[in-house]
Symmetry: C2
Subunit: 149 residues, 2 copies
């Protein structure tokens, strides 16, 4: 029988003995539906449209819980890394490019980069285990450069 991705995630929580609340469902829902990589505050604002009584504390607590259960990941995009963005966990590693002109985020895969970094660290720098946590690339997309002329 078919189970939507949303229900699959809910199932993970259930299996970990966690309770399925209206708040948790709606937070997950907002992250799933988002086409950006929203911050906690943005998630809060969106969830409030559906569930006006929710508190920001619950959003933060739920985000931490979802992260501990591997359902979402935390990212840093802004030049100053001053706030966290969230997105659903995906099977494949991918990186993010932030356009400083329009704020657009372009996701891209690069298995090569992972291999090169890992190999280099293991062979030249006596590193045993490698976890790549963050590759932040910024710049300007073609559109923004064209527009600025």
């Amino acid at each position: 029988m078919f189970m939507s991705h949303h229900e699959q995630m809910i199932q993970v929580l259930r299996e970990h003995g966690l309770r399925i609340t209206e708040q948790r469902r709606s937070i997950l829902d907002v992250i799933e539906r988002s086409d950006k990589h929203p911050t906690a505050e943005e998630i809060f604002d969106d969830v409030r449209k559906i569930n006006p009584g929710i508190s920001l504390a619950t959003v933060y607590r739920t985000l931490a819980m979802l992260r501990e259960n591997g359902l979402i990941e935390q990212r840093f995009f802004s030049p100053e890394h001053d706030r966290s963005h969230f997105e659903l966990s995906t099977a494949s590693d991918h990186f993010h490019f932030l356009c400083l002109g329009c704020g657009k985020i372009i996701e891209f895969e690069s298995a090569d980069v992972v291999h090169i970094l890992t190999d280099q660290l293991k062979t030249n720098h006596s590193v045993a285990k490698v976890i790549i946590t963050c590759v932040c690339v910024e710049g300007y997309c073609a559109e923004c450069v064209r527009r600025s002329k």
Copy 2:
């Protein structure tokens, strides 16, 4: 005539019309001498040993100023990116590996990674200008893995 790196940096500030104060000299000095990548708080503590009257606000203001003048760079290492680390600007791009076991930071260069990321974005994702701001790699160094057995 020879000019030390410290004096070269001071010279840059002078050329930008900035004043050379005892505080600025000692903050630069601490960053130059540091073998780590200190946080603002760590720089503050070190500078206070020489210049006990200095305030944390001055450290932050000076760090911002040094950054604007290209003399130092801001980095993020901790898994949560919750505080900034600082280091002198260097000619060559380099990345950082953080050992989650002992906290050691290993610096390494990787021109390949820069090229691959840049090429991929330009050819496949219509990106015009690429600035790589952060490659954070974490894991465990050989020593820590050996020790834990």
